[in-house]
């Protein structure tokens, strides 16, 4: 069996303002969708890699999202962990915008 990738509609474009994040749950999985200051959309796994805390509650500053619990940070474009106490990268996903909807590739 091969695992097929699929594009899943996550939210309307205007559901997220610039430099904001939104939680998106799909099945048992959870993601965070982030809109950059430039207006582009990005998606990562939703929970912090330090403890199980959702990143959608954190603040977005430039290309960084900050975990609300202990203030670890990630580059939301790549999922890369940037500041302690987080040191494990998160997975990021491809995103596209069509018909005013944000899709993420799972």
């Amino acid at each position: 069996m091969t695992i097929t990738e699929e594009w899943v509609a996550a939210c309307p474009v205007d559901a997220i303002e610039r430099e904001e994040a939104l939680r998106f749950d799909y099945g048992a999985r959870t993601f965070v969708i982030v809109r950059s200051p430039e207006g582009t959309f990005h998606a990562m796994d939703g929970n912090c890699s330090h403890e199980k805390v959702h990143l959608a509650g954190g603040i977005v500053d430039g290309h960084i999202i900050e975990c609300p619990k202990h203030f670890g940070t990630f580059d939301y474009r790549t999922g890369e962990a940037c500041a302690l106490p987080v040191c494990i990268d998160l997975r990021s996903y491809d995103v596209k915008v069509e018909n005013n909807l944000v899709f993420i590739k799972l």
Partner: protein, 405 residues
Amino acid sequence: MMIVGAGIAGSVAAESLRAEGWRGRIVLIGRETRLPYERPPLSKAHLTEEVEPGPKTLVTSERLEELDIEYLQGREVVAIDRAAHTVKLADGARLAYERLLLTTGARARPVSNLIGQGARIRTLRTYDDALFIRRAINPGAEVVVVGGGFIGLEVAASAVSRGASVTVIEAGPRLLARAVPAPLAELIKAKHERSGVRLELGTTIERVDAIEGRSKVILTSGRAHLADLVIVGIGAVPNVELARLAGLAIDNGIALDELLATSDPDIFGAGDCCSFPHRLYNERIRLEAWRSAQQQGAAAASNMLGAHSPYEKIPWFWSDQYDQTLQVVGLHREQDDPVIRDLGPNGLLIFYLAKDGRIVAACGFGSLPAIAREIRFAEMMIGRGLSPNVEALSNPAVNIKSLLS
């Protein structure tokens, strides 16, 4: 470089010294017989998790080795000879230092009452305390918590969620009187009552008698409770004895200047054991807060290496109560004006503005994502010295982020 006390302030300082480029020796001395570990989970996850958890270590022995930090575990410093630049350990050993950092933390304040021999009564500061309490709060156990502060209430929440029957005794007229405004304390109180915790305010313990393996708690109100375990959470006392003995200035903790140096320029301090002047609040403060201890540990390390940078981080504190979080940022005083922002089911926030309109503090209770975000932006506003529009601040429909610009 030598550090006395291996809590979060001390262990972060040791790591920071290396990260900042110090190539010489780093000696970290701690009297507890384990690796440095986190205290906040002691009243939370450590009491509630299904399986008995080990301490949550702050740094592994591999990491200490990799950074070439000499960790003297289970050793206590009993004296500092400032003229000779040496410390003396309990076992008589003497070690030389060039610069010294005191991160001796605080200890739980004990009750001064008469305690009958064999009564089961415990404070909570260490991992061993948490294990002891964890093993006693079985379903059906009668638990009396003395003190309606953060730790007492977290323990109460944890114990009741484990099925214990819990009574909290608080001497003051309300809970969390020191740090939390009344409307938020009311919400927290209601949450505890809904969860089955009994609260008795305005009374305190008179004495505790041991009766057939159980403890009889006699209150000043005349009432009495029979308990399987009495947990005392009436605050903490800074560990200043070592500094005092060495003749360092003490003022509600080891007195530091804004560079986190003590009255001896070769000795620094950080964390719960210290007080320091804060530029934003024009007063000397001592904090008992995890993030501050960590930030001070890092800042003191830089200044030990000559960075000369004043410590100006804004105090921040959180407490978990059931599935809700309480966060406090900044410091507010009697004369500051409260501004309420009601997030409905997501929680309640109170901001404090000084007479000149500057925001100086904020507290919130509710769901973590909602509260964390608002408090974080409040912190940024405080740091930038902003005077936000009161109308906008109190209107939850206004994105708090928009007030930053």
